[in-house]
């Protein structure tokens, strides 16, 4: 059996892959969940259609990164997976139900069932909201470092604020995506709500950092993070007013994601189950991690390749195209 542990720090490499997969997931499914969060505020059917049509061909592929993240965690760090996942039973189950709701709402929206797209829009919105919130709750619970306490309850102040942070972050991603796609005619509405969502995100992440950050060693990094966030927020606000196809805004939101995520990483490292197991103590066997790493490295270029191809095909924001297969 091939054993890569002789050549590199295998658990660290696998952890890097997990972080990469989660990051890609957050960016990709983040924007289609974000579209779900903001769709309820769409002022007209035209806006609704524009939002839905922009995500219809790609949401299924985006969601796959979530399965990848879960499976990779299961395969590479089984001890962590088997401890954390049952502790997060309720938020995970609620998230799964909401994921089903989101998928079904998107799937049935285009079918002329019940002749009432409002119901599907509502289900889509609520499901996206719940999924985003629960993912925030899960992140907050893991970051709190209190999961192994007897008194642990998943619904607490920190996890709720974390939930709101993720909801607003995903909404920002949705906004960034729609600006990037430059869907016909929705630009002014998107820019209008973007200010409120940005404000909510900044409030939420500041509240989160305030409640959570208690470790003196991290104050410097936290200040740097806050500084970068404020700069990006300012640049994002400026980019909003730029009418031309704005990939700038989308990239800036992605920077928000990377920054928020780096906060998570800085606090987690080297723990994967705070504060009991590190990535080295929770690892799978060397042979398993070796096969995992090789499979991931081999397959990723293909996955990224054909995913980019699919995005490229749908790049021309054709408002009509996703209705054709009725």
């Amino acid at each position: 059996m091939i054993n890569l542990a002789n050549y590199l720090d295998l658990p660290f490499a696998c952890a890097c892959v997990v972080v990469f997969v989660i990051l890609v997931y957050v960016i990709l499914d983040g924007f289609d969940l974000g579209c779900g969060v903001i769709c309820i505020f769409a002022p007209s059917k035209f806006h609704e259609e524009a939002i839905m049509n922009s995500i219809a061909p790609v949401w299924d592929g985006n969601e796959t990164w979530l399965v990848m993240a879960g499976m990779f965690l299961f395969s590479a760090f089984p001890l962590a997976f088997s401890i954390i996942v049952p502790l997060l039973y309720s938020p995970l189950m609620i998230m799964l139900f909401a994921l089903i709701g989101r998928g079904i709402a998107l799937e049935f929206r285009l079918k002329s069932l019940f002749n009432q797209t409002f119901i599907w829009k509502l289900i889509f919105h609520i499901s996206s909201l719940v999924v985003s919130f629960m993912q925030g709750v899960i992140t907050g619970c893991i970051l709190s470092g209190k999961m192994l306490n007897v008194e642990f309850s998943w619904f607490n102040l920190l996890s709720c604020i974390s939930g709101i942070t993720v909801v607003s972050l995903y909404a920002l991603l949705g906004i960034g995506w729609l600006l990037f796609k430059n869907q016909n005619g929705v630009h002014s509405w998107i820019v209008y709500i973007a200010r409120y969502v940005l404000g909510l995100y900044l409030l939420a992440i500041l509240a989160f950092i305030y409640i959570h950050a208690k470790y003196p060693g991290h104050y410097q990094t936290i200040l740097t993070i806050l500084f970068v966030i404020i700069i990006c927020a300012f640049l994002f606000y400026r980019a909003l007013n730029n009418k031309t196809a704005s990939i700038k805004a989308f990239l800036l939101v992605i920077s928000f994601v990377i920054i928020s995520f780096s906060y998570v990483i800085i606090h987690m490292y080297p723990w994967i189950v705070p504060f009991k197991y590190t990535i080295w103590s929770a690892k799978a066997s060397d042979a398993s991690q070796s096969l995992l790493l090789m499979s991931a490295l081999f397959c990723m270029p293909f996955i990224i390749g054909y995913s980019l191809y699919v995005y490229y095909i749908f790049h021309k924001s054709d408002h009509e195209s996703t209705k054709t297969y009725k």
Binding site: P57, G61, T64, S75, G103, S288, I303, S321
Partner: protein
């Protein structure tokens, strides 16, 4: 019966996986058939194939999406409810599940977008490639999942450490474990067989209603060939599967056959109701020598009786025995239907409304029932183990409050039931609307 965490977790898993398996069983066969239809549309250039494709892709889309969503549930359930199992076997099975996502799941989920929405955005050839990629993805998914599932039945290529954790020793032996290939082909052909009968049921509906007759003929010809080939292959694969199980899981075979005491030669019980408590069969009706003939291909083959094994190591014989008969019974009925259809086709009577069309309409979901029955045989037959002979189910379950599991179980029952009803309602509306020409905008 105590509704403890173990029982509730088992009920939840049984329910969610049964719901889930319906959809890949349809999509594996349907994606393959859609590729054939699209190929025919490209080579003949006829609009009728396009119309058929565009109608059936709506059905495919629903089944695929529900399959994906219920599949995501399975991948997280392995952690929420079966965390001890996860901990002990992830070194061995983890990479297999990850490879499934990396090679198959991404492929089918990504190209589905082009398949559904890419009509005017890519060339007709590229669209056909997308359809083929989705079909390939579904079969590749089945490959890895069945490899993992077969390893749980006939584990190989591993060692167990003192702490009870399984470690991989030889990847080829893990992936290509003794029962994998036969179970893989048996499952894939089952999917083709199942889907062909669904398509034939719809075609028969059109013939009975005397509408879309040309389309119905195409459905009959294409799905009919698949049904005919499957009806030959599936019994053969079932036979090989039986031989394989006799070698590696003789206890399961004895349960399937309802043989309590070692018999040489062994009779075949056409019908019985096995009595787990009294370790005998009630209302037994049997044919002598037949079990030996089927299982060992000789008239004197010895089949061990269930009593040769400890009672606590045996599965629920009643369930395994009856489910097996349901599966085989339906399979035989499908085979007979195919034979009669071929005879009628040769007499040029197949496309006139006939009693066989009503039979096809009735039989259209029967493949799914057979698939479910078959899975019940193999999975309930594996009990009380999760890894056959090595890891018991009771040692695999998560330590979670049983009230939580009850809530999640109820949640799944409610959501899946609503989903099922909506999906059926929609699929029926697509079928009754039929393969109409949608418009000239979508020439291929």
């Amino acid at each position: 019966m105590v509704f403890d965490t173990l029982l509730l977790a088992r009920l939840q898993f049984a329910f969610t996986i049964s719901f889930h398996i319906i959809f890949p069983s349809i999509t594996i066969g349907l994606s393959f058939w859609l590729a054939i239809i699209e190929f025919l549309s490209l080579t003949t250039g006829k609009q009728i194939y396009v119309n058929i494709y565009k109608m059936w892709i709506k059905i495919f889309s629903i089944c695929f999406t529900i399959g994906v969503l219920s599949g995501i549930v399975m991948s997280y359930q392995i952690g929420t409810n079966w965390s001890l199992f996860s901990l002990k076997i992830s070194n061995v099975l983890g990479p297999l599940f990850s490879l499934e996502v990396l090679t198959a799941f991404f492929l089918e989920a990504s190209f589905l977008g082009i398949m559904l929405f890419g009509w005017n955005k890519v060339s007709p050839r590229m669209h056909f490639v997308a359809t083929c990629m989705v079909a390939l993805g579904t079969s590749l998914s089945a490959f890895w999942i069945l490899s993992a599932n077969s390893w749980m039945q006939t584990p190989n290529g591993f060692r167990i450490a003192d702490d009870g954790i399984f470690y991989p020793v030889h990847w080829w032996k893990i992936i290509f474990n003794p029962s994998f290939l036969v179970r893989y082909f048996h499952t894939v052909i089952a999917s083709h067989f199942t889907t062909s009968f669904i398509i034939l049921g719809v075609a028969s509906y059109y013939i009975v209603k005397q509408k879309f007759l040309n389309e119905a003929k195409i459905l009959f010809r294409t799905a009919g060939v698949i049904a005919a080939l499957s009806s030959i292959l599936q019994p053969m694969l079932g036979d090989i599967h039986g031989l394989n199980s006799l070698t590696h899981q003789p206890l399961k075979v004895s349960a399937m056959e309802g043989i309590w005491n070692t018999e040489s030669p062994a009779a075949f019980r056409i019908f019985a109701i096995p009595n787990n408590k009294q370790e005998k069969n009630d209302f037994e009706f049997k044919i002598p020598y037949l079990s030996s003939l089927i299982l060992t291909h000789s008239l004197n083959g010895k089949i061990l009786g269930l009593k040769e094994w400890k009672k606590e190591d045996r599965p629920n014989v009643t369930v395994v025995f009856l489910a097996f008969r349901v599966m085989v019974g339906i399979g035989l009925a499908m085979l007979v239907t195919v034979i009669i259809s071929i005879i009628l086709y040769c007499q040029n009577k197949l496309f006139q409304s006939n009693i066989i069309h009503y039979w096809y309409i009735l039989m259209s979901p029967c493949g799914l029932i057979a698939v479910l029955a078959g899975w019940i045989v193999t999975e309930v037959g594996r009990q009380p183990f999760t890894v056959y002979g090595l890891l018991k189910t009771q040692d695999s379950v998560s330590i979670v409050d049983n009230v939580k599991v009850l809530h999640s179980l109820l949640g799944f029952v409610v959501i899946y039931s609503i989903l099922f009803v909506i999906a059926i309602y929609y699929i029926f509306s697509v079928i009754t609307k039929g393969p109409v020409n949608i418009g000239t905008k979508h020439n291929m």
